[in-house]
Symmetry: C2
Subunit: 213 residues, 2 copies
Amino acid sequence: MELSTRQKKIIEIVRRDEPISGDNIAKQLGLTKPTLRNDLSLLTMTGILDARPKVGYIYSGQTIEPLLFEELFHQKVAEIMVPPVFIKQTTSISDAITDLFMHDTGSLYVIHEVTGEFVGLLSRKDLLRASINNQNITGTPVAMIMTRMPNIVTITPDERIIDAGYLIVHQEVDSLPVVESANSTKVIGKVSKSKLLTHFISSGYEVEKNKEK
Amino acid sequence: MELSTRQKKIIEIVRRDEPISGDNIAKQLGLTKPTLRNDLSLLTMTGILDARPKVGYIYSGQTIEPLLFEELFHQKVAEIMVPPVFIKQTTSISDAITDLFMHDTGSLYVIHEVTGEFVGLLSRKDLLRASINNQNITGTPVAMIMTRMPNIVTITPDERIIDAGYLIVHQEVDSLPVVESANSTKVIGKVSKSKLLTHFISSGYEVEKNKEK
């Protein structure tokens, strides 16, 4: 079911001020009660709201599937991005591996040692490959083995979670750098496979918990 | 919205036989049309079905959120598990790393070289740690560095996707071995972070595609 903007506003008001009469909902929206009749009856019939005589409307919370799709897939990347771990491109491979373990992260973002510009990315797989191929991981800078811009897929904070997930799945990468805007190389965050999965699973659990109430 | 079993059956019938009259739906269910009146009006009001005068009920396909939750979270682990890559515990660490790259996988499942029993698990992280700590990765068997049973969290094929996701997120592992039954160590599959994410994203895309129709 696609809820209209007005229906979503009604739900918000009821969640905040329950129990609340239809008259008061109308007042908050600057509308008349008859205007809201269809919206209120749909929200009640679908079980999203509960109408109690002489009490008012209550948010039932048992039936949030209509909102779930939006929450799961259409929230912005900005809502779930995390701070990346940055290292300089002059860092040795062995120091980078230490950083990876110290920060318990799956990828390292590499910046230019002078300009601070984002220049590359290192995954656990890149480091594993280097550690068995290279004779001298303490003397080789990560610049030698990292994946470089512009061969890195990025995303912007205003894109949707489903777009980030699509890129991660289809480009077979562990994370996406979040850049300020489409043509910028200023990295302001990271969306990882783990973070996306945590988002889906915790949203799912939230729904289940509400159902049990 | 929670759809009742009868409402779900009605949707199934309409999807298969659309356009179909209310009388014919009732006949297929062995019920009378008045019995179905409330169900049909709810399904129409929520936009799941479209009622066209003199034509019948049509599945609108625009509004499958009520079913989405089940599909996303309550399918069985069996539906999304993949075959693991098995290696013997006598395999050297360097051969194991080669196997990891050859099969392009994130984890290796380790079996006993004689009994074939599942004895341990190796992640990319385990192999990376070993490759920088160990002087002799060609001469050391993976048995020395793997995570061993019973310290491995497993799941059964009849558990739900949300349970697998919960364990992966909260135990901070990359995959779960799927064992035949709760007390068995017979591994019949693997549920990975990547596979779960692919499941969520492709289900989300499926819904979006249907909405565009």
